[in-house]
Amino acid sequence: MSVAAAAAPARRPFFRKTGALPGFGLALGYALTWLGLIVLLPLAALFLRASSAGLAGFAATLSDPRVQHALLISFGVSAVASIAASLAGLVIAWALTRYDFPGRRVIDAMVDLPFALPTAVAGIALAALYAPDGLLGAPLARLGWQVVYNPIGIFIAMVFIGLPYAVRTVQPLIAELDRELEEAAATLGASRLQTVFQILAPPLIPAALTGLALAFARALGEYGSVIFIAGNLPGVSEIAPLLIVIKLSEFDYTGATVIAVIMLIMAFLVLLIINLIQAWSRRRMGNA
């Protein structure tokens, strides 16, 4: 009898948790429906369209130097820019969280501006500022540095839009860092530099990686703010999203979707790698 009684609960469907609060089935169904309609269906359509090009079509598109260069620029500059944004974001988040200074709240609110600004507005503003006759561009031009209409311009725009992600992901963790940790390190004889790199930085790494991934994803997909400052010279400063738009305007839908699929797969791989590093560093933090 007791055997039968013990075996009975095991027959329940495996994902069905008899929690005290109802609504699991409804919530999961709702979530899956929306995920399917909004994310998976369009992606499937994209793959379907691209597949009509066949392997040969993919190979031809990939071997086009213009496409290659656009992908290189998009992924390369996005990577460098998101790393730069993450490092800058760490410092900004630190300053905003750890110190109290006049105007702190205003600056804190301004961090979100790139989120809210229409990207075209940001692009025009950046282009006007850094153009050879712009406020910052003119003195830089006199020094012989041209920062617009080349990958540097793309970099500037991508850092600008990636910064809020980098700041906002690490900020709550910095707020959580106990001051006692620094004091403990100091009483043990650690210098300020040792404390920063050995005690304070490691717990922030997972969150900083999240920020990095978000900033990278945003930079990769960014169009509006980049195209004004990039100059869009094929083979120099043309980004992959722009190439997609160009292909679309030439009614080359298949070509456009092929580039899109390549971008999608590469982006997925990059994010997967960042996630793996994150999981590994979280395990190393010992708090899972």
């Binding site: 006692e180 403990a184 004889g189 050995q198 717990p203 010992g286």
Partner: protein
Amino acid sequence: MDIRVTDLAKEFGGARALRGVSLHVRSGELMALLGPSGSGKTTLLRIIAGLETAERGSVFFGDTDATRLSVQQRHVGFVFQHYALFRHMTVADNIAYGLRVRRRSERPSRAAISARVEELLALMQLEGYGGRHPAQLSGGQKQRVALARALAVDPRVLLLDEPFGALDAKVRKDLRAWLRQIHAQTGHTTVFVTHDQDEALELADRVAILNSGRIEQVGAPDEIHEQPASAFVASFVGDAARVPVRVLGGKAMFGETVLEAPGQAMADGAGWLWLRPYDLRLTGKGAAVVAGEPAGKLDGVIVGVRRTANGRRVEVRLQDLDVIVEADAPAGLSCGHGEQVSLAVLGGRIFPDNAK
């Protein structure tokens, strides 16, 4: 190494945390800083460690003037209430940290460091825990790791800020006995902050009582308990009730009753007599005076009886007064609620009225 602080003063945004504190901690001594919250005890400890700077006064470790030394240069072991362990490091790495951050010329060899870690893990009864992360330890274990980490660098003095404050009662008691033992083995001059008087009285060689930024009394636990130097100490340490008295010619008058027992010299005037339960002997109403016992008695009515582990504690409301004193009832004496009783005053301390 002894610690000597003189005339320390510290202010936090207008609030005075310390008002001229001087204290001498003898070499090898285990001293408790005891006081209510806001009394400045933690501030004092942090100034000794160099985690805060005083506006005035100086700190000496032996003959070394440490007042201007940085935290790193002071070479103290500090244990925090919430452990402050480095979560991303294993237990062994936590303990070794103070040795690993040293300059290459002063750093022990890798083998020496791991030998030291093993030795400390053994001392802390944490053998085999070196590879774990702090998140996998209980509170008591975490605090022992924190202590091992502080001891690893062989500090001049050991400072503990409410070391058992975050632990539950049972673990607290175990760790107390165990800290005593570690102290006996290592012999570091140790100062710990606590608001728990049992902890202070049980553990420390000497106790310093702090109240609103001043030291009220420094002394051995017995001294603090039996000869409180101020009304604050009398009320803060142990159970005590106060009875208003008039002092006349060296004698305390309670109404028309003369209480002779508290034989302290005191100027005439109003005062308070502080009575601990053992200062009073409960007798039936109108019982004969025992030979050798003072004649002064307080009359009252029993308003409560509590059974304790060791006897009966009786609460007596004194006649004509809204004062309740506590006394231990001798076995065999009936003490029902509302019964009339007398209390013989065997001891107690008198402080002038303005002291509280």
